[in-house]
């Protein structure tokens, strides 16, 4: 009775029952490809894990000159610090992986078509920011590996004519990677990127509520009566939460069985260690640039790099603009060209990543 009165009091002021009614009417399509609907939620889950473990790391992390020492302290002195750090690093990889899975499922389901163009664009922006999180976070321990990864990573934009060098120097805080770099990467990683990411994520999620789940063209071709749905609340949400639990278990397993290592402290005078390579999600562009560069002789190496970047940029622009040239929404329109494009992109990503890892030794 009292509970009801409290509920009514709050409801009168906040309109909870509208929310409940909304949740009750929200449905999720059921078909052979329904499995892919979980991946946005899984990405969100890993993002929440990142926020949580990130705040925990923030408790002891000190950017600047003490960066390495503080990470060493977190890893070896604080109880379970190694686990928190390992969870943050693993969850970053798992988040990027689920975002990629989510993106490709959206791509092949043609879920970017009208009216979901903004969903596609905001999602890609979120992916770009997630990669920015990955790149900036990777430097923060300031060990050998992160030092050289950042050094090499920032060499790539510096080959862009005119603005490249300026941008790279601004990011580095000078001509070399050092204390200034880690300080500003820290500011990017914990203040600037979250400040952009969170509202964009809100927008992205709001769009999902507004338009609902997209169905693949084959499903859309069916008459409305033949399409099956399930209520979001509680049916789909229960499954979503089960997925989150599975994700958490996988993360806990990876983080505890394969703890993230900490290398030697960075030394600007030391030579790069053998087998140095970027994180797996940066391997593909890294390798693509290398491959294109190899086509050109050393005399035209600079040209090769520019061509590589131009090709890569063209690919990304085509990818971003897909809703505007693959926009036919007549039922059954499969858009084969787009499918082939998607397969080509997957193939290129996998191929260059594999080649990249193959040629490390």
């Amino acid at each position: 009775m009292t509970a009801k009165r409290i509920y009514d009091w709050v409801d009168e002021r906040l309109g909870l029952s509208e929310l409940v009614a909304f949740a009750r009417h929200k449905t999720v399509p059921v078909h052979s490809q329904s499995f892919w609907y979980y991946w946005g939620g899984i990405s969100l889950f890993f993002f929440l894990v990142q926020c949580f473990t990130g705040v925990l790391l923030l408790v002891y992390y000190r950017p600047g000159a003490e960066a390495y020492e503080s990470v060493r302290q977190i890893t070896f002195v604080m109880h379970f610090g190694w686990l928190i750090r390992s969870a943050h690093a693993w969850s970053a990889s798992l988040m990027i992986f689920s975002v990629f899975t989510h993106m490709f499922s959206v791509f092949f389901m043609k879920a970017y078509r009208k009216p979901r163009e903004f969903g596609w664009l905001s999602g890609l922006a979120l992916l770009g920011l997630a990669l920015g999180f990955g790149f900036s976070g990777y430097l923060l321990p300031m060990d050998e590996l992160s030092y050289f990864a950042t050094k090499v990573g920032l060499e790539i934009p510096s080959s862009i004519p005119w603005i490249g060098a300026i941008a790279a120097n601004l990011l580095r805080g000078g001509p070399d990677v050092g204390e200034f770099t880690v300080q500003r990467f820290f500011a990017l990683h914990v203040v600037v990127l979250p400040a952009i990411f969170l509202p964009l994520l809100g927008f992205h999620l709001w769009l999902v509520q507004r338009h609902g789940n997209a169905t693949p063209p084959r499903e859309e071709a069916k008459p409305a009566a033949e399409r099956k749905t399930m209520p979001f609340f509680p049916n789909f949400m229960r499954k979503d939460l089960a997925m989150w639990l599975i994700s958490l278990n996988i993360l806990a397993l990876l983080a505890s069985v394969f703890p993230w290592s900490l290398g030697k402290p960075y030394d600007p005078l030391a030579p790069a260690p053998l087998g140095i390579h970027p994180e797996w999600y940066f391997m593909s562009p890294f390798e693509m640039l290398k491959l294109v560069g190899m086509v050109f002789s050393s005399k035209y190496a600079a040209l090769g790099e520019a061509v590589g970047i131009a090709l890569f940029t063209t690919g990304i622009v085509l990818w971003v603009l897909i809703p505007f040239y693959d926009n036919t929404r007549e039922s059954g329109q499969r858009g084969r060209a787009a499918n082939y494009f998607g397969l080509l992109v997957i193939f290129a990503l996998l191929f260059t990543t594999i080649v990249g890892y193959w040629t490390i030794r």
């Binding site: 925990l56 408790v59 002195v77 604080m78 109880h79 379970f80 610090g81 686990l83 928190i84």
Partner: protein
Amino acid sequence: MSEETKLPANIVEESGERNTRRAFLAAAGVAGAAYIAALAYPIYRYLASPEEMAMNATQIKEVTLKDAQKQPKGSVLMFKFGTAPALLIHHLDDSWIALTAVCTHLGCTVQYEVQADRIHCACHGGVYNAYTGANVSGPPPRPLKLFKVVSVNESGVVISRA
């Protein structure tokens, strides 16, 4: 449902079912609590690490203050005993007194005043005796704890818990 429950056999079966359901829910509850505890325990220990480190520091039995013997009469030296600040007073009568510098009222750090030959807390005006640590006036409810000055020798001053 209501018709079926009239049959005695079904009542037995249903209560059995209820028992297994209850057992299942209890087991699920225990498992869930264990799961949450397994997540919360490392996080708690991680956050509590500095506290444990401080606890280790407070278990110190003795400190040696190098060159503290050179301190002139009628002066004070602030030092750390474990994690808390402490005072080493070399009185005008050549006696050495060491005591904690944490006011027993609200934890401010107290100071030795040579002219008045007393220990004073600036926060709320508490006054302590500079030889015994006894609370003389003001709000402090208890005296300051004395440490034992074990020895004053060539190399320094050794102080231990009383």
